[in-house]
Amino acid sequence: MITGNGVEKMREQYRPVIGLEIHVALDTESKMFCACVNAFGSTPNTDVCPVCLGLPGSLPVTNARAIELGITCARALGGQVAPRTYFERKHYHYPDLPKGYQISQYAAPLSIGGELVVDDSHSGEEVRVRIRRVHLEEDAGKSMHSRQSGHTQLDFNRCGVPLAEIVTEPDITSCAQARRFLEELRAIMRTAGVSRVRMEEGELRCDVNFNLVHVKAGQEITRTQISEIKNLNSFRAVQRALEYELMRHRSALEAGDGLLHETRHWDADREVTYAARTKEQAHDYRYFPDPDLPPILIERELVDYLAAGIPELPRARRRRLRETWGIEWSQAEILVEEPEMADFFESAIAEGAEPSEACKWIVGEIAGYLNTVDTTLGALPFSAADLAALLRLVEDGAISGKIAKEVWLEVMEGGGSPEAIVERRGLRQISDDAILEQIIEEVVAEHPEAAEDYAGGKDKTLGFLVGQVMQKTRGQANPQKVNEMIARRLRGGRDDN
C-alpha cells in the first residue's frame, strides 16, 4: 500500500547543490598593502605606486583598516576570528597580476564558520546557509581586450584593492535562493559598513559551484561533477548562469552523462556558460606563507570591540520594523536594503511622522527619486524632519496629497522646509467657506445644465463640478470640502448623511 507520503517519496527529483565564493571590496580609504587611494573610475594607471605595481624591490605593508573591516565582516556572518592569521602567496601568471602572485590567505584564513539566514518572502521559508570561511586578499588589475585591434590594455588602478572572500558551504538549493542569499549578503555588508557593494563598480563578484543530484525515492541515484562558474558580477548573471547550468546538468543526467569537473565562464550576451581553456582548468597555485608579511595576531578585545560596533543586522531590523510599525514585508525589504533608508524611516517616526505614511513616502517618492539621480540619501539636501513636517501639513489639511508631492519634489531637489515652500508658493488649501461658496456660485452660474443634472440625481456630474472649482482655485481648494458644499448647495444636504 502506498500512502500519499509514499507517492511523494517515489517521485524523481533533481536537487541542485550550490555553493558560492563571493568577493566583496572593502570600504577603505587606501589599498590593502600600500598608501594608494582605493577609488573607482580614475584615469587608468594613476592610482598606482611601486608596491601595487609590484616593481622590483617594493614591499607590502598591511592596511590595518582592511583587517578591521575583515573582522567586522566575519563577525557579521557569525564567523570565528582566528587569533593568529597570515597571508600567503597564490601564484599564477596573468598580465593584470603584476607580481606573478596574489597576496591572499589559504591555510590560515581570517575566520572560519558562521551562517547567513535567508528569509524567503514568498514561502516564508527560512534557509540557513553555512559560511565555510572568510579570508582577505588583494584585487588584481583590469584587462580590457579590444576585439578590433586584438590588443589588451591594462589598468592597474584596482591592483591591491582590499577584498574579503566569503566562501559558503554548498547549502543553497535553488537559483532564486542564490540570488536571495546575495541580496541578503549585500544588505549585511552595507549595514555593517564593510563595503558599499556598488555592483556597477565591481564591488561584489561571485564564483558559483554547481552540481545536480538525481534523487529517487529519497535515495541518491547519481550526481553530476561540479561546475565552477567564475567571476559573475551581477545578481542577474548569477541567477541566469545557475539556471543555465541547471538545464545543462539536467540534460546531462538524463542522457546518462556525469559531466567533467570544470571551470566555466559566463557569456552575458548569449546567456550561456562555456568551458574555460584546459590551461585554466588545472591550478597549482603553490601557496606558501608570504615572507614579506609577518603573521597577524588578533586580540580578543579587538574582535569584541568591532563586533559591538555592528548595527542591528537586516533580518532582525526587517522583523522589528514590521512588528513595531506594522509595515509590509516588501516595504521593510526596500527600507533595509539601504541602511540609510531605514535610518531615515526611523528618524521620521521620531520626528512625529505617522509610520505607514512615512514608509509609503520613503519607499515610493524617495526611493523612486534616488533611482533617477546618481547619489545617496545622505547626500540629498533634506532630513527626516522635513518629511515629518510635510506629512503634518497633509494631515492638518493644509495641503492636499497632490500638492504634497509637488512640494516634496522641490524639497528633494533643492532643500528647504515644506512649510516655507507652501507659504512662498501660496499652496495652502482654501478651506474658507465664504470664498468657496462664492466660487461654487460662479461655477453653478456658468454650468447651469450640469448643476441641474446633479440636482436631478445624476451623481456623476459632481466630479465635473468639483473639477471646475479646483480649476478656478488652481488646485488649492480642499476637495473633500468642495464635494460637501456642492452637494449641500444643489441637493439641500439630502446626501449629506
Partner: protein, 480 residues
C-alpha cells in the same frame, strides 16, 4: 674610512677629495677588475652628515633612481627604478656619495660572481680567481681600494663569503635590522643589506646609517639595541675577559681546507689570549643547513622572480601570444643558475611535494634556529670559518652546482637563524686571504662588530692588501 670622515669634518681635506681619489682609482683599475656595472660621479660632494664626502658603491640589486638596477641580469638590462632603496636614501642623507653599482651573481644567485650576465669580476689578489659572490663586485671594489665602503646583500653568505675571498670585512646584520625596501628580493626571509669595508669599525660607522626601523618594510625591526654601533665598538675594552666563544665542530667537516682550519684555530688562540673562554661545542643540525637553505631560498626566489614576465618592464621578447611572451622573455632574460633555482623552487612548492620539501625544510629551519638560540645561552659568540676554502680559480666550479653551493655551507646558518655575522680577514693561505666568521645573538650586531674590532686590533690581518692597487686603506693601526 672613519679617519677620512674625521679629516673632512675637521677641514684637513676638502669634502671632494675622497671622491677625486675614487674616480681616479676606478678609472685606473676597473677595466681589469670588472667590479662595476655602472658608474656616476656627482658634482657635489654630498650633504654634511656622519659620512660627509665618503664615496661608496652599491650592489646592483639595490634600487637607485639615478642609476640602472640590473641585478646583473639580461632581464633588467635597461631597468631604471623610479625610486631609491631606503638604504640608498639613508646613505645620501648621511653625506655619502654613490659612485656606482657593483657587479654580482645574477639576482644574487651564486658564490663566485660567475653567473653575472655581463662579465666576471677578478679577485684583486689573483685576477684569474673568483672574488666570491654574490656581492663579488662590492668585495673586489673595496679590496682593490676603489672605494672605502660598499653595500652588499647577504641571503646565504653573499656578503661574508666574498669578503673572505677578497680579504676585507663584511657584515650581515640581524634579519630585520636593515630595511629591505628597494632591495630586489631573492629570498625575502633571509635577505639583508650590509656593509663591506676594510675594518670592523668602518662597518660599524656604516651600520649607524643603515640600521633603522622602516615602516615601509613589515619585517623591519625597531629593536632598541639596533643602533649606536661605532660608539659601542670604540667603547669596548681591548680584552675579551668574561666572553664565552663556542667553536661548533660541524663547521670543520669534509671539504674544509686544513689551512682554513688552521687559520680559525689561530684566531681562537687570539681570543683566548685576549681573555675569552674558547671551547669546542656542537650544533648537530648544522649538517642540514645546506639542503634546508636551497629548498627555502629557491622557493622564495621562484615566487619573487615570478613578476619578471616581460609585460610591464624589463626584457620583453617578441611574441604572438601571452604564453609565448612569458616563455621567451623569461627564457632569454634569466641565466642558467637563475632558471635552475626557479625550477627547484617551483618544484618544492608544487602540489604533492610541498609537505615533503618546503614544509619539512621550514620545520628544520625552526629546529636549527632553536638549536642556535639555545647555544647562545652558553656562549656569547660563535667562531667558524667563513668559507671552507680560499678563493678558487674561475670556471672550475661552474659545471658543478653542488660544489659551488658548498662555498656557502658555513654562512647559511646565520641566514636561517636571522642572527648577525661578520667575516674578518684571518691571514693568508698560499697568498690568498682566509675569512674568519663571528656570529652573535639576534640584535647583538654591535657586540659582533666589537669582537671583530678587537681581533683586528690584535692581529692586523685586515691591513694586508693585494699588490698593485692604490692605497685606499687606512693603515691607521699603530701596530701595523
Amino acid at each position: 674610512m672613519t679617519d677620512t670622515v674625521a679629516a673632512v669634518q675637521s677641514g684637513d681635506i676638502s669634502p671632494g677629495e675622497p671622491l677625486r681619489r675614487t674616480v681616479a682609482e676606478i678609472a685606473r683599475h676597473d677595466a681589469h677588475l670588472g667590479a662595476f656595472l655602472s658608474v656616476s660621479y656627482p658634482d657635489a660632494p654630498g650633504v654634511k652628515g656622519p659620512l660627509h664626502g665618503i664615496p661608496y658603491a652599491a650592489k646592483d640589486n639595490l634600487c637607485t633612481a639615478t642609476l640602472p638596477t640590473t641585478c646583473a641580469s639580461r632581464m633588467l638590462e635597461d631597468y631604471h627604478p623610479p625610486y631609491d632603496a631606503t638604504v640608498i636614501a639613508r646613505m645620501q642623507e648621511a653625506g655619502a656619495i654613490l659612485v656606482g653599482k657593483t657587479n654580482m651573481d645574477e639576482f644574487a644567485m651564486g658564490s663566485s660572481n660567475e653567473t653575472s650576465a655581463f662579465h666576471p669580476v677578478a679577485n684583486p689578489w689573483r685576477p684569474d680567481h673568483v672574488p666570491g659572490g654574490s656581492s663579488g663586485g662590492s668585495a673586489a671594489a673595496v679590496a682593490a681600494g676603489l672605494v672605502p665602503l660598499a653595500l652588499g646583500t647577504d641571503t646565504g653568505g653573499s656578503i661574508r663569503q666574498p669578503a673572505a675571498f677578497c680579504g676585507i670585512t663584511g657584515m650581515k646584520p640581524t634579519y630585520g635590522a636593515v630595511s629591505r625596501m628597494g632591495l630586489v628580493a631573492f629570498a625575502s626571509s633571509m635577505d639583508q643589506v650590509g656593509p663591506m669595508a676594510m675594518t670592523a669599525s668602518d662597518c660599524a660607522a656604516a651600520m649607524d646609517i643603515l640600521v633603522a626601523h622602516d615602516p615601509g618594510d613589515s619585517t623591519s625591526s625597531d629593536h632598541p639595541d639596533a643602533g649606536d654601533f661605532l660608539r659601542r665598538v670604540r667603547a669596548a675594552p681591548d680584552g675579551c675577559d668574561g666572553l664565552r666563544i663556542g667553536i661548533p665542530r660541524e663547521y670543520f667537516g669534509q671539504g674544509v681546507d686544513p689551512e682554513v682550519v688552521r687559520a680559525v684555530r689561530s684566531a681562537a688562540d687570539v681570543f683566548s689570549e685576549l681573555g675569552a673562554r674558547v671551547e669546542e661545542m656542537s650544533l648537530p643540525h648544522t649538517v642540514y643547513a645546506l639542503p634546508t637553505y636551497y629548498i627555502l631560498a629557491s622557493a622564495e626566489a621562484a615566487s619573487n622572480l615570478a613578476r619578471f614576465d616581460g609585460v610591464r618592464y624589463g626584457r620583453r621578447a617578441a611574441a604572438n601570444s601571452i604564453e609565448e611572451l612569458y616563455w621567451k622573455s623569461r627564457g632569454e632574460g634569466f641565466g642558467r643558475e637563475v632558471q635552475r633555482r626557479i625550477t627547484l623552487g617551483t618544484f618544492v612548492l608544487s602540489a604533492g611535494y610541498y609537505d615533503a620539501y618546503y614544509l619539512k625544510a621550514a620545520r628544520v629551519r625552526g629546529i636549527m634556529a632553536g638549536e642556535i638560540t639555545r647555544a647562545f645561552a652558553q656562549y656569547d659568540y660563535l667562531l667558524t670559518p667563513t668559507c671552507p676554502t680560499t678563493a678558487f680559480p674561475r670556471d672550475v666550479r661552474t659545471e658543478d652546482p653542488l660544489a659551488m653551493y658548498m662555498a656557502d655551507v658555513c654562512t647559511i646558518p646565520a641566514n636561517l637563524a636571522g642572527i648577525p655575522a661578520v667575516s674578518v680577514p684571518g691571514g693568508l693561505v698560499n697568498g690568498l686571504p682566509v675569512g674568519v666568521q663571528l656570529m652573535g645573538r639576534r640584535f647583538d650586531d654591535a657586540g659582533v662588530l666589537a669582537l671583530a674590532d678587537r681581533f683586528q686590533r690584535a692581529t692586523g690581518h685586515h691591513l694586508l692588501g693585494p699588490e698593485g692597487f692604490g692605497d685606499h686603506r687606512e693603515r691607521g693601526g699603530e701596530d701595523a
